[in-house]
Every structure is written in structure tokens, then in C-alpha cells.
Amino acid sequence: MQGLTVGDLRIEALDTPPAVQLLWRGKSNERHPGEALAPYFREVLAAAGTRNLPVELHFEKLEHFNSSTITSIIQLIQDSRARSIKLVLVYDQALKWQKLSFDALRVFAKDELLELRSA
């Protein structure tokens, strides 16, 4: 699984079991982050589906994301659920902005296919 670099954002991919892990670093501040993230997420879900692995997104080292990035993450939540692939969002609750952003995303945590976990 390849990583992704788009602008100031770097996503490192680790696809060793027990999960496909995406480690987010830097800043997601592109005007249209979905143009790069959406096709990348499709690849990630395809790889995870083939290997029957959950996907873990690690945001602990991320400095900032804009609201357009949140939209892309919501679409990933929807797409992973549609494919019955478990998605885990890991964040640093000691960072107030991360706690607020990810606590709100718990509105989608209605079954075992989405887990939000504080590091």
C-alpha cells in the first residue's frame, strides 16, 4: 500500500496485520482535498477488503485539517460502512481541536463498523 503526499499533508500507509494503518502528518489544507483523498481512500478500502483487514486512521500527529477534509473523512466513513469494512479513527484527545472534531464524528458510530479511539 502506497502512502500519499498532497500539499502539506503526508499519509504513511502500513498494511501489516492486524490493520491497514494510515498515519496522517502535517496539515490537510488543500482547496479540494477530496480530489486526492477520495481515489486514495478507494484504493485503501479495496486493499483492506481483499485482505479482510480493518482500516485505522491515525491523526495524532496531524497539525490541522480544514473542513473540506472533514467532508472527505465523512465520505470514507460512509464508503467503508457500505463495504462492511471496519474503520477506526485514532486521535489525540489531549489536543482540544482533535477532541472536539472527533467527538462530534461519534454521531456516525452507530455500530461496530466505526470506532473512535483516543490515543
Binding site: 502539506d8 496539515k27 489544507n29 482547496r31 477530496g34 477520495a38 490541522h64 480544514n66 473542513s67 473540506s68 472533514i70 467532508t71 472527505s72 465523512i74 465520505q75 466513513i77 460512509q78 489536543l95 482540544k96 481541536w97 472536539l100 472534531s101 462530534a104 464524528l105 454521531v107 456516525f108
Partner: protein, 163 residues
């Protein structure tokens, strides 16, 4: 953050690279002054979201003056961030901003409005584009009161944060 008085007033070129330059400048500036790092991050996030909207939805067809106005000021325990940009008379964005602010006020709290907006985006088939999530995020995550005014072709969106 303690009491403070300050004012920044900038005419900024409407270029996407300036979003992060100004967002981080606001963050670095306030981090140098105040000890509340999280509060500084909130101010920076609010600044970034307002600037993004100005660049995305402003009318930049006039070739001579492609600038928006960013003002950041504080008095007592209130910080204000205001962004002004030209809008086309035929553009519905300013009206959508006003509608979004009214929609937000229909909720008992900013978190409830924010959750409703997240669900609305999820219900859309694909990227809804102009969802106004940034404005709702400012109210929730930035803990800001938002106001907007349209005057002679200029839209001003202002956020107020009590620190």
C-alpha cells in the same frame, strides 16, 4: 488568555496559499503572546475557515483589486475575526451564508447544529461542495458567535470569541 487589546487589519491577495500563511501567522502571533495554546489554535482555525470561504466564494473577476480584508482584533476578553470580500450581485452565496447562520440559531447549541450538518453531508450522494461546514465548525469548535452582513456588494462575515 488574559485581557488584551490588539488590532490587525490586512488587505490580502486572493490566493489559496495565503490561507495557511495567515492561519499560521495568527496562530504564531498569538502563541507568542498568550499561554493558552488551544485558544490560539481555535483563533487560527476560525481565521483559516473564514479566509477559505472568502477565496472560494468571493467575486474575483475584477482584474484590478483581487483582495479581501482580514481584520483580527481584541478588546477585554473578546477576540473578533472579520473577513470581507466582494460578491457578485447574482451570486447566491451571501444569501446561503445568512441562511446557514439562521439555520444554526434554530438549534439549542452549536454542537447540535454541527452534528446535524455532519449528518446532512453524509446523506448527500457525493461531495456536497458548498456545504457551509466551515461556518458551523467555527461556531462549534471555535466556540464563536457568528454574524454576517452584505453591504454594497461586500460580504462581511465576523466571528466573536470570548476567551
Amino acid at each position: 488568555m488574559g485581557n488584551f487589546n490588539f488590532s490587525i487589519d490586512l488587505p490580502v491577495r486572493s490566493e489559496w496559499a495565503n490561507v495557511d500563511l495567515l492561519r499560521t501567522s495568527v496562530q504564531n502571533c498569538f502563541t507568542a503572546i498568550f499561554s493558552d495554546i488551544e485558544g490560539c489554535h481555535s483563533l487560527a482555525m476560525v481565521t483559516g475557515e473564514l479566509i477559505e470561504n472568502a477565496i472560494k466564494y468571493g467575486d474575483w473577476t475584477a482584474s484590478d483589486e483581487q483582495r479581501f480584508r482580514l481584520r483580527v482584533w481584541g478588546e477585554g476578553r473578546s477576540a473578533h475575526i472579520s473577513v470581507e470580500n466582494p460578491v457578485r450581485s447574482t451570486d447566491t452565496n451571501a444569501e446561503e451564508v445568512m441562511k446557514t447562520l439562521g439555520w444554526m440559531r434554530s438549534f439549542p447549541s452549536a454542537i447540535e447544529a454541527y452534528r446535524a450538518k455532519l449528518l446532512e453531508i453524509a446523506a448527500a450522494d457525493r461531495d456536497p461542495g458548498n456545504s457551509k461546514l466551515g461556518l458551523v465548525r467555527i461556531a462549534y469548535e471555535g466556540n464563536c458567535l457568528l454574524s454576517a452582513a452584505l453591504d454594497r456588494g461586500v460580504l462581511r462575515v465576523q466571528a466573536e470569541l470570548t476567551v
